[in-house]
């Protein structure tokens, strides 16, 4: 593919580094086989079935940037995130991390890259071993990747990490259950930072937290990003949070990327009817009394998605073409991309 630009070593600090994408995803698909068992298929003549969790998405994330992914539950956000760090193998398409396609890599080949990507999950408690002390949890990536040699070095590093995320070095001796939700999320950020990663996937990191705690975590993430030039792939269903933290935002619907654009542009000038619908659905804190466009319907099943544009049954602008032909992605003047027949034809 066209990866000439990223072939150079992007660890070299320089102006061109800003432009080079750290992650480039092309035509990424991930289908899960949800067929009935073989015997049922034979006896009851039932066909094979596939759940198209991610069905052909393209995006790029530049170094030091935050790319936000939004969409309703079941639209494939989390699957896309797991694909990006190699937790799932893609069904087709490519994921290039600094120019290297990680899809076909073996475990061994992947190992050096692994330490450079990390993940923060929604429920930190579920991603901790409850019987490990916090220091052991945070030191795990250091141990696994063999980053530091002596125990003293590891201890010092853990203390440093704990301080960085706003906890006390003494907290390392405690167990996860002794912490509140926000503190646990801090621990999981410390663990993610332990291997000095460049790229962190954050899957709904603040969804389980109160707004006040969410603000603390978002501020912390932003500070750390500035400090270490981290690149984030940030997933949330909360649009206000995503727009706050992201430089670019992608909107997913039933496994497809329907629109992506710089955050401010997407907010100011949403093109896709689905993006408009999502933005409209956000409760109005300003109480301007603006009438909300009633949103109708729910996300259809990804096992049997609607034909053509998958959004057409809920779309107020749908016509005959929308129900037959899947829209191609076109580039908009605001530096975004949108996949919609109505936008392409200039109907909206």
């Amino acid at each position: 593919m066209m990866n000439a630009i990223v072939a150079q070593d992007s660890m070299v600090a320089g102006a061109e580094e800003t432009a080079a994408p750290i992650l480039r995803v092309r035509g990424l698909k991930r289908h899960f086989d949800v067929s009935p068992p073989w015997l049922n298929r034979v006896l009851e003549r039932r066909p094979r079935q596939f759940l198209r969790a991610v069905d052909g998405i393209d995006f790029e994330i530049r170094k030091g940037e935050t790319f936000g992914l939004v969409g309703e539950s079941g639209c494939g956000k989390s699957t896309a995130a797991r694909l990006a760090v190699g937790l799932y193998a893609p069904s087709s398409g490519s994921i290039e991390f600094e120019g290297v396609d990680i899809g076909p890599l073996s475990r061994k080949q992947m190992a050096p890259l692994r330490s450079r990507m990390q993940m923060i999950f929604q429920d930190p408690y579920a991603s901790f071993n409850p019987r490990w002390r916090v220091s052991k949890i945070i030191a795990e990536p250091i141990r696994v990747f063999g980053l530091l040699k002596t125990a003293a070095e590891v201890d010092a590093r853990v203390a440093e990490l704990l301080t960085q995320v706003g906890l006390m070095p003494a907290d390392g001796d405690k167990y996860p259950h002794e912490f509140s939700g926000g503190q646990r999320q801090r621990i999981s950020i410390a663990r993610a930072l332990a291997s000095n990663p460049d790229f962190i996937v954050c899957d709904e990191p603040t969804s389980a937290l109160d707004v006040s705690v969410q603000a603390q975590i978002l501020n912390l993430m932003r500070d750390l990003q500035r400090q270490y030039r981290l690149t984030f792939l940030f997933i949330s269903h909360d649009l206000a949070v995503v727009f706050h933290i992201s430089d670019r935002v992608g909107v997913m619907y039933l496994g497809a990327m329907v629109e992506q654009a710089p955050a401010a542009e997407l907010l100011r000038n949403p093109r896709h009817p689905y993006t408009r619908m999502l933005l409209d659905a956000i409760p109005d804190l300003d109480m301007s009394g603006r009438a909300r466009t009633p949103v109708s319907g729910e996300v259809p099943s990804p096992i049997s998605p609607p034909s053509g544009c998958t959004f057409h049954p809920r779309c107020p602008h749908a016509n005959a073409r929308c129900s037959v032909q899947r829209p191609a992605t076109i580039v908009t003047d605001g530096g975004g991309q949108v996949a919609c027949h109505a936008v392409e034809e200039g109907r909206i």
């Binding site: 006040s212 409760p283 949103v295 996300v299």
Partner: protein
Amino acid sequence: MNNNKTDGGTDSGALLDVKDLRIEFPTRRGILTAIDGVSLRLNSGEILGVVGESGAGKSLTGTAITGLLERPGRIAGGEIHFNGQRIDNLPAEAMRKLRGKQIGSIFQDPLTSLNPLYSVGRQLIETIRTHTDLTPRQARARAIEMLTQVGIPAPEQRIDQYPHQFSGGMRQRVVIALALCVNPKLVIADEPTTALDVSVQAQIIELLKQLCREHGSAVMLVTHDMGVIAETCDRVAVMYAGRLVEVGPVQEVVKQARHPYTRGLMGSIPKLGDEVEHLVQIDGAMPRLSHIPKGCAFNPRCPYATARCREEKPEFAQAGQGEVACWLWDGVNPATDPDTLFAEVSQAQRAKKQMNAVRPAPKTSVQNCGQEV
């Protein structure tokens, strides 16, 4: 036992009147006071929002009103009056009759409040027949009518389906239908939209508002989502560590909050279109029930705290059209614009700090935590 929150006597027309409610949990290490002197009034047809962080006692207040408080929790003080009748000391059987018929409940997770083994229709019909004397046939017709009202397509077919056959939003609609099927006077909705996507959330909020308008029911909406509150409620009560800190009309609380906690809470919400580097942040976390600070419970996190806040528990004072429990408002003209008041207080603080600037000033602004301890 006379909290100055309520005005006038018991029968002043309020549908729900909670007076100086106190809920305790006796534990081996002593008694934990989960709700400490909460007083609330709710009129017919009114939607009251109750907000606060997790653990503030929002849900517990709702549970106490419905009489579903679980042991060892107990109402240790105060009274709950519903429709002129005292209900906090009703025997279980009488309370059971009241619940469902007069007071409906909607919970956060619709799957756990529906019985997975019974069809949706059976649960609706059972509820309707328990509280009315409709025949099975009439009850079924009523159930279908309710499902239509909450916007479930093809209710005649779906009534015989089981909860797992419904999506999250549809299940929540069923739960709403269940809560409203016998026209209760009061609905306690505990985080009804938290588990739902924004698009579906908007539908559910709209539905709840519309149904209450039609049925004339009062709603106590417990949520931590300020956006939902702003869209739905007439009045808002803000809770912190088991106490009420501010009560007032929604406009005032959302736009011109008078308590430092409410102001922090509002500032910490990311707003669309506001490009700020950092969100306003309230440092620290809500205290545990066993370690509620002396004086105002918010004082360790409050940038405006004074010696008095650390010693004396603030009483409710009139501020704007609402009331606030904060010493800053003590003796201040209630009509004062909160922005002006807070600007003055911060300025006075700064001036004082410059006067005795022996050491570098500790951080006062609600910003910048999490970097060093």
